[in-house]
Every structure is written in structure tokens, then in C-alpha cells.
């Protein structure tokens, strides 16, 4: 896609900043900058993943039984929601590249909607944890469900082989939930910021900002959105899936 307004020596597109020699250089530089930022995010979440892996190693049974408290249904639903939202985001970038404003608006709106659905489902899951007193540190964390699995019929039906934990190990389930909330909370925070930026982008897209050849912002935001999706893919595996068979 050659730029229709290929920059002449003095003239350049209005969106080209003065310290850049060409739009290509500007795109190149900002794209690279976004990738570097994503690498910082990898290292940021890396600390959380490292903590989780080590604590799970130390407190295997509490972490397994803590994980059994999570809803596979909602987790899978959220995973599907985010994957589809990644698709719609990729389509949004495509729409900007081929300059289809209508499609762009549709895709951005769908992405935003799916983002809200994700956060809504997260809210449902967290609310459930709150009700069951599985929120660590505040709201009287309860180890009753782990001292006696039969006292929690919903979970007990899914995992009938779960043995009662000794008191000290039952207390360690609070560690599991601390990491659960830290990791999903940090992820949800990133999602929320993404949703905020999406709203901004929809407003700008309506004004035609991204369908005149200047796709940088959409493309770079797309990278961020896909990254948040990837984090969730790993969170889903680590928090929900790997402990279903202790």
C-alpha cells in the first residue's frame, strides 16, 4: 500500500511529526517502541508467574484445592470471549489498513463490547469468591470449605476425591487466592485500561483519524490488546486447568 501522499522533501502528511524524516520512520519507531513496552509487561507479569509457580510447588495440595473453587465454565467462556475479541481487534487493524471506516467502527465496538463482557464475567467470578469468603486479607477469609470439602456441595460434586486438608495447609489456600486475585486483578486492570483506550479510539475513528493512511495508533493498540489476551491464555491454563487432577 503505497502512500497516496508520499512525502515530498518539504511536505509531509499532517500526522508526521517534525523530528521524523518520513512516515515510514515514524511508523517503524513507534511500532518498535510498543514492542519494547510489551517486553516490559512480559517482565512485569513474569514476577507474578514466578511467585505463583514457586508457591504452588511449596503448597501443592492447597493450591490444587484452591483451584477447584474456580468455575471452569466461566473461565472457558472468558477465554473464548478474549480470543474472539483478539480476532475483532485484528480485523479492526485490517479495516484501518484498507480504509474502511464502517468496518473499523464495527470491529472496535465489538472488541470493546467483548472487553466489557470479559470484565463482567470476572466480576461475577470475583463476587462469588466474595460471597464464599475466599477473598484473602479482608472480609474474613474462610477455610471451612477446605477443612471439610463436603461442606461445599457445588465444588464437592465436581471434585469428589478432594480430601480434607489439615489446618495449616488449609490456611495456605489463602496464598492461592492472594495470587489469584493479584494475577487476575492485574490482568483486569490492563483490560480496563485497554477498554478506556478503545473508547477513545472509537471516538477518533468516527472522525476518520485512522482511515486516511495513519494506522499506527490502531496497530500499536492492537499489539497491546493481543498481549493482554496472551496473558489470559496462560492465566487460564495455570489458575484453572493444571490443577483439575491433583
Amino acid at each position: 500500500m503505497e502512500e497516496a501522499d508520499h512525502p515530498h522533501h518539504e511536505e509531509h502528511p499532517s500526522y508526521q511529526r517534525h523530528h521524523f524524516e518520513s512516515v515510514d520512520q515514524q511508523f517503524d519507531a513507534t511500532n518498535f517502541a510498543m514492542w519494547l513496552f510489551l517486553v516490559t509487561e512480559v517482565m512485569f507479569f513474569g514476577g507474578l508467574f514466578a511467585s505463583y509457580l514457586i508457591m504452588r510447588n511449596w503448597y501443592y495440595r492447597p493450591f490444587v484445592e484452591g483451584s477447584h473453587q474456580l468455575s471452569i465454565f466461566w473461565g472457558t467462556a472468558n477465554t473464548a470471549v478474549l480470543i474472539v475479541s483478539s480476532f475483532t481487534m485484528a480485523m479492526a487493524v485490517w479495516s484501518a489498513e484498507v480504509r474502511r471506516k464502517g468496518t473499523l467502527l464495527l470491529c472496535l465496538s465489538l472488541t470493546l463490547l467483548l472487553g466489557f463482557v470479559f470484565l463482567g464475567i470476572k466480576g461475577i467470578e470475583w463476587h462469588e469468591k466474595w460471597e464464599k469468603h475466599h477473598v484473602p486479607g479482608i472480609h474474613q477469609y474462610s477455610i471451612a470449605a477446605f477443612l471439610d470439602p463436603a461442606s461445599d456441595p457445588e465444588v464437592h460434586k465436581q471434585y469428589p476425591d478432594d480430601q480434607p486438608l489439615p489446618y495449616d495447609l488449609a490456611q495456605k489456600t489463602e496464598q492461592y487466592f492472594f495470587l489469584y486475585f493479584a494475577m487476575t486483578g492485574m490482568h483486569a486492570l490492563h483490560m480496563a485500561i485497554g477498554c478506556g483506550i478503545l473508547i477513545f479510539m472509537i471516538v477518533r475513528a468516527k472522525a476518520g483519524a485512522y482511515t486516511a493512511g495513519h494506522v499506527t495508533f490502531v496497530e500499536n493498540f492492537g499489539l497491546y490488546w493481543h498481549f493482554v489476551d496472551i496473558i489470559w491464555i496462560y492465566l487460564f491454563a495455570l489458575l484453572y486447568l493444571i490443577s483439575r487432577h491433583g
Binding site: L53, I54, V84, V215
Partner: protein, 116 residues
């Protein structure tokens, strides 16, 4: 200046088609279904050596997750069509992440080996 033009961003000039995106979407959803399905079964373990056992469930779950992540990175994030620099940046991030986890876990694991 002409060098900058020559080194244009391949992303901008190679537009990935919606068909590709659709295919990747289905692959990702399939992967999700697979990984959830796999979690319903106890896949057993592999006794490598005394005291060293590998449980297959986590391995399979993480392997599928990595496949999904790879598809997202290569196609949705256009890394397949990106410059070597981008690929190197992604690789270095993953590498360092593995160093953090690997060397820290190595400390924890080797504590159990006692003093020489």
C-alpha cells in the same frame, strides 16, 4: 534518508487477510476446547528418576497455551511479517522471562539436594 525508505515497515505493506485471521480464530477456539477437554482426564505421570516426576496435565495445558500464544504473536501481532529486530525483541523478552523463572526455580529445587 533513502535508507529509511528502503527499510520500510513490512507490517504496513503486508496486509494480513481476514481469511488468515479467521483461520487463526478457529485454531485458537479449537485449542481452547482441546485444552479444556484434556483437563477432564487424568493424563498420568512420567517417573523420570527417583524423586523426579513429570505430571502430564500441566505439561499439556502449557503446551497448548504456548501454541495458542504463538499463533497470536505470529499472526494477530504480525510478527511473522515483521523485521528481524521485532522478532529479536520478542525472543529476548521470552528468554529473560525464562531466565527469571528458571534460575529462581533452580534455587528452590536444588535446596532439597542438601549440602553437596
Amino acid at each position: 534518508m533513502s535508507e529509511q525508505h528502503a527499510r520500510t515497515a513490512e507490517n504496513e505493506h503486508h496486509i494480513v487477510s481476514p481469511k488468515t485471521y479467521l483461520a487463526i480464530l478457529f485454531a485458537l477456539l479449537l485449542g481452547t476446547a482441546l485444552t479444556v477437554l484434556a483437563s477432564y482426564f487424568d493424563l498420568g505421570e512420567w517417573h523420570i528418576a527417583s524423586g523426579l516426576t513429570l505430571f502430564w496435565n500441566p505439561v499439556v495445558a502449557l503446551a497448548i497455551a504456548t501454541c495458542k500464544a504463538t499463533l497470536v504473536v505470529l499472526f494477530f501481532m504480525h510478527v511473522k511479517y515483521s523485521s528481524r529486530l521485532t522478532k529479536l525483541t520478542v525472543a529476548s523478552g521470552i528468554f529473560l522471562f525464562l531466565v527469571l523463572i528458571g534460575m529462581t526455580l533452580a534455587d528452590y529445587t536444588s535446596r532439597a539436594w542438601g549440602r553437596w
